[in-house]
Symmetry: C2
Subunit: 332 residues, 2 copies
C-alpha cells in the first residue's frame, strides 16, 4: 500500500527488467507456444489440447532454508528442484515457472543486494532451464523474511496420480532416501563428515527423466518431498489401501551401509533417517510386481514394500506391519 | 526444514483438507477440463488448443494490507480481485487459482485461529467463484508475516496486451480512479468521512465483464493496479509511444466533483489522488477514436488523453504535455 520502497533500484521495473533479461537468456529459443512473455499483466501460452499440470510451492527463510547454511544460488536451485519434482511426479513434463519473491531490507540497499537477488534468480533459472523450463512471470514484494513462491506448469498426454495403487502392487523407490536429513543434521551441528549428503541437502541433483520411465508402469507416483513414510501415506490415503514397508528391504538396499554408518555417527537411528528424510525429490511409486521386469529391475525400481487391502477407515502406512506414526518433515 | 510446527491442527493435511472442502464447495459443478483437483503433487487441467493466460501476485501483510484496517474475509476478496484483474486485463477469462499462504503464530494455536484462515480462504473463494474461478491447488508454509501468493490462469481465444497502442489512438478509462487512495487515507487517519471509498479500498467491486466489451476495440489494455500514471506508462513503454493525459478531461468526468471534494477534505490534491490511486482494478485502455462509437460512448470508455509519437528513447507519460514523474503506488 505504501510507496516507501519505491526507487531503491530506481524502480521495481528496473529490477523486473533485470530479472526478465536473466529469465529470457540462455541457449533455448523462445518456445513456440509462449505467446506473451514476462512484462504484461499475465503471461500467455497456447495449449494444444493435452493435459496441463499446475503446482505451487512457497518457501520461507528460516522455515525452509537458512542463509547461514546455504548461498542464494543453491537456495534458488533447490526451490526449482522442488517445483520441477511436483510436475514430474505427475508423469508430466514441466514447461513454465512463475516466480514471486518477497525481499527484506538486506536486498534493498545497493548494487550488491541487487546482485544477490539475481544470484537467487540464476539458481532458479539454471536448474529450470536444465529441464527446458522457462520463467515467464511472477511478482516482487517486500517482507521481512525472504519468501519464494513458485508456480510450475507442465503439459503432457498421460498422468500418474497418487490414487491408482492396487492391492497386490509393490512399493518401489529408485534411490534410498536419508542423505538430505543427514546433510541437514551436519549443517545444524556445524560439522562436515560427509560433504556429499550436505550438498544433496542444499541442492539435490535428481534424474528427473526417471519419472517418465517409471510412469509407463507405475499405478501411483509421488516424489519424496516430505519423507518416505509421508509420501507412502499420501498414496495409501488417496488410493484407499494400506501400505507395508519392510525394514529388511531397506536394509538390503546397496546404499544402506553408507547411510547407516553416517546416521550412527550422527547419533540418528538409520531407519528413522531413511523413512523421515524429506526434500529428496526421488520417485516413490507403486506398480504391479510382474511389471517390474519391464522397468529393468533394480535400475528403475527397488521394492521396499507392498500394497494391501485397507483394514481401517482410511489408508495407513505400516513399517513391518506396525502402524507407523512418524510422518517426516512438515514445513508448516 | 523443521518439523516444529507439525501437529498444531493435528496436521497440515487436516488444514489442507478443510481448505479443499471450501474450495470445492459451491453451486458450480466440477469443470470438465479439470482432471486432477487439489490433493496431488499438482493439479491437472485439459486444454483445448486456445490461449492460456498466467499471472502471479504476492501480497504481504504490512506492505499490501493491514490487519488493523481490514478483516481477513475482505483481505481474501481483495487478493482475489487483484488476480482476476490481471487475467481480465489480457482480454482473457480467468478459470483457476493456485493459492499459497504463509501463516504466522497468530494462526497456529487453536480452533479460532483455524477459522480465521478459513475466513481468508472464504474471501478468496467467494470473490473467485463469482466469476466462475476455482482454486485448484496451492501450498501452506510458516512465516512471521501473513503472506498470500496467488497464481491465476485463464483461457480464451483473443488477447489484448499492453503493446498495441498506436499514434492517434485515444486513452480511455471506464471509471475515475481516486477512491482507493482516499479510502486508505481515511483508514490511516482513523476517520470515516466517506464509507464508500473505504469499502472500495478494502475490497473493490469491479465489473470485470466490461473488460470483454472493451477488448473488442482496445489496442492496448491494463487494469489500474499501481495507478493511472503508472499503467499509462506501462502502455507507453510497451507500445513505444508517448501518452498525454489531459487534466481538463479528468475534471470533466461526472465523478470528479465527488472525488475532488473528498480529496480536499483530506488535504490531498484531487488530480494527484486520481492519477496516483492504485488497486482500483478498473480498465485503462487505448482505442482508435472512431471505434469509440462501437463502445457505446462514455458508458464503456471516457477519453482522458491521446497516444502520440514518442519523442524520447522510450515511451513516456505526460500530464497536460508536461512529463509526469509521479508513478503511483509500488509495493516494493
Amino acid at each position: 500500500m505504501s510507496g516507501d520502497y519505491r526507487g531503491r533500484y530506481g524502480s521495481e521495473s528496473e529490477l523486473i527488467a533485470a530479472l526478465a533479461t536473466l529469465f529470457q537468456s540462455g541457449a533455448e529459443k523462445i518456445p513456440a507456444d509462449l505467446i506473451v512473455d514476462i512484462g504484461d499483466d499475465a503471461a500467455i501460452i497456447q495449449t494444444a489440447g493435452d493435459l496441463m499440470a499446475l503446482s505451487s510451492d512457497l518457501l520461507v527463510e528460516g522455515t525452509h532454508f537458512k542463509m547461514e547454511y546455504s548461498d542464494l544460488y543453491s537456495i534458488g536451485k533447490k526451490a526449482a528442484v522442488a517445483n520441477l519434482a511436483d510436475i514430474f511426479a505427475m508423469g508430466i513434463r514441466p514447461r513454465f515457472f512463475l516466480v514471486s519473491v518477497a525481499l527484506d531490507e538486506r536486498f534493498l540497499h545497493n548494487e550488491s543486494s541487487k546482485n544477490s537477488i539475481l544470484e537467487l534468480a540464476r539458481g532458479i533459472h539454471d536448474q529450470a532451464s536444465q529441464f527446458g523450463v522457462r520463467v515467464i512471470g511472477g511478482d516482487i514484494a517486500r517482507s521481512d523474511r525472504l519468501t519464494i513462491s513458485i508456480t510450475a506448469l507442465g503439459n503432457g498426454s498421460k498422468k500418474v496420480t497418487r490414487s491408482g495403487a492396487k492391492v497386490g502392487d509393490g512399493l518401489f523407490i529408485t534411490q534410498l532416501p536419508g542423505r538430505s536429513l543427514l546433510g541437514l543434521e551436519q549443517l545444524r551441528k556445524g560439522i562436515n563428515i560427509d560433504g556429499e549428503s550436505i550438498a544433496h541437502h542444499l541442492a539435490p541433483e535428481v534424474d528427473f527423466e526417471k519419472f517418465f520411465t517409471i510412469s509407463r508402469s507405475a499405478t501411483a507416483l509421488c516424489d519424496i518431498s516430505d519423507g518416505l513414510i509421508s509420501e507412502a501415506g499420501h498414496i495409501a490415503r488417496a488410493s484407499e489401501v494400506d501400505i507395508n514397508i519392510e525394514s529388511a528391504a531397506l536394509k538390503h538396499h546397496p546404499n544402506f551401509e553408507k547411510i547407516s554408518e553416517l546416521a550412527k555417527e550422527l547419533g540418528i537411528d538409520p531407519i528413522a533417517a531413511i523413512i523421515e528424510s524429506g526434500e529428496e525429490h526421488f520417485p516413490i511409486f507403486t506398480s504391479r510386481i510382474d511389471e517390474l521386469g519391464k522397468l529393468d529391475g533394480m535400475k528403475n525400481g527397488f521394492k521396499i514394500g507392498d500394497v494391501l487391502a485397507k483394514a481401517g477407515e482410511s489408508g495407513r502406512v505400516m513399517l513391518d506391519f506396525q502402524e507407523e506414526k512418524r510422518s517426516g518433515f512438515s514445513h508448516f
